[in-house]
């Protein structure tokens, strides 16, 4: 799993994930995402899921952690380009109410 931060403005970075977001890759991705989401002055974090080929509930769990951290700081998480498989697993976890609003 690769993670690239680009189009960076300090308050609104965009993170592009590339690969499979599952129990094997989540530990590294989580560290990077939480570090980014915890930055002072961050208003909005966009996670671009275009190149995420598969995701399991470990992937959903890490998105929940990032969402919670941002929410506590009045920040916003936006998930963009989530394909139907990702949306389905988010629905299976009954988190479409939460993440549905963030889909760009």
């Amino acid at each position: 799993m690769k993670l690239r931060v680009h189009k960076t403005t300090p308050a609104r970075p965009v993170v592009e994930l590339d690969g499979i977001l599952n129990r094997d890759t989540v530990p590294e991705v989580r560290r990077a995402l939480l570090r980014l989401a915890g930055r002072r002055g961050l208003k909005e974090l966009e996670i671009d899921l275009t190149n995420v080929r598969a995701m399991d509930t470990a992937g959903v769990a890490v998105l929940v952690e990032v969402y919670r951290l941002l929410e506590h700081r009045d920040g916003i998480l936006r998930l963009t380009h989530a394909d139907e498989n990702i949306r389905r697993i988010i629905r299976l976890a009954c988190l479409d109410e939460v993440f549905g609003k963030t889909f760009g």
Binding site: N22, R23, D24, V26, P27, R30, D56, T57, A58, V60, A61, V62, V64, E65, N85, R88, I89, R91, L92, A93, C94, L95
Partner: protein, 265 residues
């Protein structure tokens, strides 16, 4: 249409205290499909499940996983296989000293490098899937039998297993909860592409969730195929099972008469 098989059972016999429980079992379990193993109580379904998950060694016959003989797996390969599967036995089998959420997290702690908080969220997701979102901090002893069973299913799902084995998921559940579990099984297959093996004697549930049904009677496969093929089967025992007809003459009547009449003393 069935996909290529992930597990293949060839000529499997099994014995319990000298009695033959399984007799030349032969069928295949296709990947990303729901296979239902049906039969009356005591027909050998649970024994077969124990063979499939590697808990009971094969004496005669073979179980192949991805083309490799499960009976020939060393400890390392067996561990790798077990990290790919989730198993729910009839009892639910929770650790009484751990909370329900901690129970769900056990396989994740053992098999992954995931941090505590991620594991806790995953446990809550699985508990919600089985309708127990509010019970994560409860102890197993505080749950009813049906709730423990559902918690056991949540634990079987903890690792998002590639292959899920469930033994009588609906037993002891009210019809609404049982229907919810049926829907969950279908969604797991559709969303995560799980290969699911369900052992049950609940006819309605079986025909609702199955892509393939295998009917076992007295340790033998008497029918296997798509639900519509099983419905159309003309084997008298399959017909009897599907129409819920009871035997007028129990199959073990001779044994009973020998015992009560003290014939073999």
């Amino acid at each position: 249409m069935l996909t290529p098989s992930i597990i293949e059972i060839r000529g499997l016999d099994s014995y319990y205290r000298g009695r033959r429980v399984l007799d030349g079992i032969r069928f295949e379990i296709p990947g990303n499909q729901v296979t239902v193993i049906m039969g009356v109580s005591g027909c050998g379904k649970t024994t077969l499940l124990r063979h499939l998950v590697g808990l009971k060694p094969t004496e005669r016959g073979r179980v192949f996983v991805d083309g490799e003989d499960l009976g020939g797996f060393g400890e390392q390969k067996l561990q790798a296989y077990r990290s790919r599967i989730g198993v729910l036995f009839q009892s639910g089998a929770l650790f009484n000293s751990l909370t329900v959420a901690e129970n769900i997290g056990v396989p994740l702690k053992v098999h992954t490098r995931l941090p505590e908080e991620t594991i806790r969220i995953m446990a809550l997701i699985k508990l919600n899937m089985v309708g127990l979102a509010k019970f994560g901090d409860f102890m197993p002893s505080q749950l009813s039998g049906g709730m423990r069973k559902r918690a056991g299913l949540a634990r079987a799902l903890a690792m998002d297993p590639e292959i899920l084995f469930v033994d009588e998921p609906s037993s002891g559940l009210d019809p609404i909860t049982a229907a919810g579990l049926d829907r969950l099984i279908v969604e797991l297959r559709e969303t995560l592409g799980m290969t699911i093996v369900v052992v049950t004697h609940e006819l309605e549930s079986a025909f609702h969730i199955a892509d393939q049904i295998v009917v076992i009677d007295e340790g033998r496969v008497i029918a296997a195929g798509a639900p519509e093929e099983i419905r159309a089967a003309d084997d008298p025992r399959v017909r009897q099972f599907l129409s819920r007809e009871t035997d007028l003459r129990p199959p073990d009547l001779d044994d009973y008469l020998s015992i009560i009449l003290a014939r073999n003393r």
